[in-house]
């Protein structure tokens, strides 16, 4: 009763849960422009997920998996029958591919009869494939709708590669966009709750929260030489957080406004003048300020072994490397896939800083 009254007054006065607060970019996340300043940029339209097989960097884009050859050119490696939503190595040089329609392929072969709705992240360990289903109702590319509907209907699955048997480990996840196997546990990035959580694989009950209140929506996680890389695919913004607390406006916007022009985080914003503009984003003297509030940005975070942030590679509002969906360390270099701008950039690993 008291809690209900408190919630109501909070709503009226904008306190507590209704307060619009976004953590500042500070500490390890101090703004920088390293992604834009990266020496090597490999353009690849709609690049999404990075992986490594046979010593080569792989990247998925649309329905195709490309490999980066020694001269910096993309060579087609595999073409699927539908939109690819994520890829990962599945041991012994094999490649697991999840399609947006829910099919899982291993080296082009369909894995069992399993069909996981909205598979958005994969991880493999010891002949077991872990699949994150982003949402029970939306497809991978409808992630903005899933956020604006404030869903938490994602789930986590375990599939035995040999038998193709699927088993649900966890449910009620808010868009689990990234998976990482860490010993006997699995770390999941819950995008809509802006946090990383850890499930014990032997006994997946209540998860431990490792890193919470990120200033963006965390996505895929990958192994670094020491620690981990986390791709943060879109920044949080006060305006979006505010709209998320406005059910009537949100519903009408979903119904009446074209998705491209919603007030919602994006992989790349500012490509049309019909998109919402925020006060700080107004061009002054012909320039967009780097600090301008934006619906998209480039952000990848280097985490230590305990999943705490150590350093970050960023592209700010005026930058050209937005919508980081995947980060991968390979051959002593860091590759960052920015889907918003259709580019993979390469930086030296030292750019990611050292463990504390």
């Amino acid at each position: 009763m008291i809690a209900a009254v408190a919630r109501l007054t909070d709503k009226i006065f904008g306190r507590g849960e209704a307060a619009v607060t976004v953590p500042p970019l500070d500490g390890a996340l101090r703004p920088n422009q390293m992604l834009d300043e990266a020496g090597k940029r490999f353009a690849l339209a709609d690049v999404d997920c990075l992986s490594v097989a046979d010593g080569k960097l792989l990247a998925s884009a649309g329905d195709t998996v490309f490999a980066l050859d020694g001269r910096g050119k993309w060579k087609q490696r595999l073409q699927a029958e539908g939109q690819i939503s994520c890829i990962c190595t599945a041991g012994r040089g094999r490649l697991a591919v999840a399609l947006a329609n829910g099919e899982i392929l291993i080296d082009g072969e369909r894995l069992g009869g399993a069909r996981i709705n909205c598979p958005i992240a994969l991880a493999e360990a010891g002949g077991v494939l872990y699949v994150a289903s982003g949402s029970a109702t939306n497809a991978p590319d409808d992630w903005q709708r899933d956020l604006l509907e404030r869903n938490a209907s994602g789930s986590l699955w375990r599939i035995d590669v040999a038998s193709g048997k699927a088993e649900q480990i966890a449910s009620g996840l808010a868009w689990p966009a990234g998976l990482a196997i860490d010993g006997n546990s699995i770390v999941v990035s819950e995008a809509w709750k802006h946090r990383l959580v850890r499930y014990d694989l032997a006994n997946p009950g209540k998860p431990d929260v490792l890193y919470h209140d990120l200033p963006g929506y965390p996505g895929r996680i990958s192994r670094a030489a020491t620690g981990w890389w986390l791709a943060v695919f879109a920044p949080r913004s006060q305006l979006v957080e505010f709209v998320l607390r406005e059910p009537v406006y949100r519903k009408r916007m979903l119904d009446e406004v074209e998705p491209a022009f919603w007030v919602s985080p994006k992989l790349r914003s500012g490509s049309s003048f019909y998109e919402p503009l925020q006060g700080g984003g107004v061009k002054h003297l012909g320039v967009v300020k780097p600090w301008a509030p934006a619906m998209s940005a480039g952000l990848s975070v280097r985490l230590d072994e305990a999943f705490q942030p150590v350093a970050s590679l960023q592209s700010r509002a005026d930058g050209s490397t937005h919508g980081v969906t995947s980060v991968l360390e390979h051959d002593g270099q860091v590759y960052v896939a920015a889907r918003g701008d259709g580019v993979v950039v390469r930086l030296p690993t030292s750019a990611g800083g050292r463990d504390r």
């Binding site: 916007m253 406004v257 919603w262 998109e275 919402p276 503009l277 006060g279 107004v282 509030p293």
Partner: protein
């Protein structure tokens, strides 16, 4: 319209939310709580005490109040200057005994008695004033000491003269008139207090002396720094307080004619309670005669009514003390929170649904293109925010900038420039008058003229105040664009009366009709408001018939035509009812049509928010202005249209590199010159097929 839209429409049409903020922004709103207290006190005791409103009781109360009110007024003046006077009770008693002694023992005539007593009161005040004002002693301690000393003097006088006072019976009608007479049906003391209150109000609010007192109380150091004789001002407030207390003592003496040891005991607490309860701040700087009146009447009624109800005098003092504490607490909270509340409630968005926006696809008249891609740039990086650009007969360009200058770029190549005139403010719309002088609307200042000799003259900075407006709308806050009628009258737009120039995004968030069009008549030098309740009226341009002009309403996304003369005089007709973006300046084209700048393009997300005022209000309160949903002013275009509302041509800068936002454009000799209020360049574009001899001033005033 959907059901919820209809509901929102009527809800925001019928409830004037914006008035609450405007009320709270008035200075007299400080009286609201004291007035409520007074009404409560009157109705409480009016119902408890029989015959409370009877003439006998009212006369009796008002006679006593006259004396008390004078003391509170004196104390108020001291408090406004930042001090406090605790000696008023003793001075009152001193005035009483001195007046009686002079009258009964020395047997002086009434006027001399009054004058001498006032002089004694003034002397006590002067002692306080010199100690506090000039020697900078603490007011509280000093007046506490004078309270004791003066009380001691009163006791000594009592010992010496009380028997002789009691024995004498002065035979003077004039003397008794002070305490028992009526003037215009009002007890004399109440009349005197009323007169003093009116004088105090006029002095405090309308005179240099009063402003000095208020300034000293508001911030002693700042007052000193601007050259106010702080010490003298403070000293004089104590003298006035002493005189008024002594005057109250004279009136008391005349009414009761007796001297007792308890006269004026505890009066300072009652007076202080009255002053603070009325809303006079203990910290100084805030107070008025009205507050003193309200507070003193409340306290008078409470004290007297409690006596009549048979409450013991101890309980009476206790209650006064509690009241004083409560009043101080409320005063502190009010002061602390008023501006907080004001900042929360002042912004009050309206229901502002726009018609469906026309598209920008190839089939639309507003189809996107890259015609502005080929502009030549003038003054890139050298000019900060040319809102409007205009060219003279010698092809020189004039443009305002953010730092309050009018910059002139020299023909023919525009590589050199000079500050043509420094006007201060923010130069916005410009027009050449018939005599070649440049008329400028200056944001924050009003309508100005820069003559050919570069003299800067103010034409007008105020218009008639409207009767129904709560805020004072006579000052011009944001004169925006102007044009000149053939008879010399200047019509100019004022974008908003509720906000300052730099707060224009807040006005956009409100999207209420806060703007107006004003006419300045140079022949009679008068300024009158012509059209009201317009949604950010912006560009103004005379049509060719000499009887009407076109004006753009930015937040309404419309262009309308207004007839100021002729058969259709006074009528408004909307000629472009739905634009894809936000219109800014309008200017003449060489072929008899008009140019219109669109400063930004409507976005579906904001169009939806315009139908949801509550959403916008919460947005304004909860997130920083830099994060607000704005009209998309990062993309604009230039539109050419006819008087009948036909769109002939649209020119875009698709990449947005040179002209992301366009606030004005001016055609001159076959070229179009483009300005933007947040831009750092002026664009020059060759117009195909335009008359290469046509200039704006010639179109208005003919060949020189």
């Amino acid at each position: 319209m959907s059901y919820s839209d209809t509901f929102a429409y009527w809800r925001y049409r019928l409830v004037p939310d914006h008035m609450l903020g405007e009320l709270l922004s008035k200075r007299w709103i400080d009286n609201a709580i004291p007035l409520l207290v007074l009404i409560f006190v009157v109705s409480l005791f009016g119902s408890l005490i029989p015959d409370f409103f009877g003439s006998a009781n009212v006369t009796n109360l008002s006679r006593q109040w006259g004396e008390f009110g004078l003391i509170v007024l004196g104390l108020m003046i001291v408090m406004v200057a930042g001090g406090i006077d605790l000696s008023v009770g003793s001075t009152f008693a001193l005035g009483n005994i001195v007046a009686l002694t002079l009258l009964n023992v020395a047997e002086l005539p009434m006027p001399v008695v009054v004058a001498a007593t006032l002089a004694v009161g003034a002397t006590v005040g002067l002692v306080n004033g010199v100690l506090v004002g000039f020697l900078r002693l603490r007011a509280f301690l000093t007046t506490l000491v004078t309270l004791i000393i003066v009380r001691a003097i009163v006791d000594m006088l009592l010992l010496k003269y009380s028997v002789r006072i009691a024995a004498a019976f002065p035979d003077s009608d004039a003397w008794y008139y002070l305490g028992e007479g009526f003037l215009l049906g009002i007890p004399f003391s109440a009349f005197a207090a009323g007169v003093v209150a009116i004088v105090a109000h006029l002095v405090l609010s309308r005179s240099r002396m009063g402003w000095h007192v208020l300034a000293t109380g508001g911030s002693r150091r700042s007052a000193h720094n601007v050259g106010i004789p702080v010490r003298r001002v403070i000293c004089s407030t104590y003298v006035i307080s002493g005189m008024l207390a002594a005057l109250a003592g004279v009136l008391f003496a005349s009414r009761l004619g007796g001297a007792g040891a308890d006269t004026g005991i505890g009066l300072e607490i009652a007076a202080l309670t009255g002053a603070v309860l009325g809303g006079n701040s203990l910290g100084g700087g805030r107070g008025s005669a009205a507050k003193a009146l309200i507070g003193s009447i409340s306290v008078m009624i409470i004290v007297n009514s409690l006596l009549r109800l048979g409450v013991t005098s101890g309980a009476n003092s206790l209650l006064l003390g509690i009241l004083l504490l409560a009043a101080v607490a409320i005063d502190v909270r009010w002061l602390k929170n008023l501006n907080k509340v004001l900042s929360k409630v002042y912004v009050s968005p309206a229901f502002a649904a726009l018609p469906k926006a026309p598209g920008t696809d190839p089939s639309s008249p507003y189809a996107i293109n890259d015609k502005l891609g080929g502009v030549e740039l003038i003054g890139l990086g050298e000019i900060d925010g040319p809102e409007d650009v205009i060219l003279d007969a010698d092809d020189n360009i004039y443009a305002g900038n953010r730092t309050g200058d009018i910059i002139r770029f020299f023909a023919p190549d525009y590589t050199r420039h000079e500050v043509y005139a420094h006007v201060g403010g923010r130069p916005l719309g410009m027009a050449f008058a018939k005599d070649g002088s440049l008329l400028v609307c200056i944001g924050g200042m009003g309508l100005y003229r820069v003559t050919q000799e570069r003299d800067i003259e103010k034409l007008t900075d105020e218009t008639n105040r409207s009767w129904v407006s709560i805020i004072d709308d006579s000052r011009l806050r944001l004169a925006d664009d102007l044009d000149i009628a053939p008879d010399g009258r200047v019509f100019f737009s004022e974008a908003t009366v509720r906000y300052e120039m730099h707060e224009w995004p807040v006005d956009g968030l409100e999207s209420r009709g806060n703007g107006r069009i004003v006419c300045y008549d140079p022949s009679s030098r008068t300024t009158r408001t012509v059209l009201k309740n317009l949604k950010f009226p912006n560009g103004i341009c005379m049509t060719h018939d000499g009887e009407s002009f076109l004006f753009a309403e930015t937040w309404a996304c419309t262009v309308s035509r207004y007839w100021f003369a002729g058969a259709k005089k006074g009528t408004v007709e909307t000629i472009l009812p739905e634009l894809p973006g936000y219109p800014d300046n309008i200017n003449r084209a060489s072929d008899g049509t008009f140019w219109l700048a669109l400063v930004g393009i409507r976005t579906p997300s904001l169009d939806l928010a315009l139908k949801m005022p509550g959403f916008r209000r919460r947005m304004a309160r909860r997130i920083a202005p830099d994060e607000w949903l704005y009209p998309n002013i990062n993309t604009g275009c230039v539109v050419r249209f006819t008087e009948t509302g036909e769109v002939l041509d649209v020119m875009w800068d698709r990449a947005g590199d040179n002209h992301p936002m366009i606030t004005s454009m001016r055609e001159h000799k076959g070229h179009l010159y483009i300005g933007g209020i947040l831009n750092n360049r002026i664009g020059k574009l060759k117009l195909d097929g335009a008359d290469e001899s046509w200039t704006g001033p010639e179109s208005y005033w003919g060949k020189p």
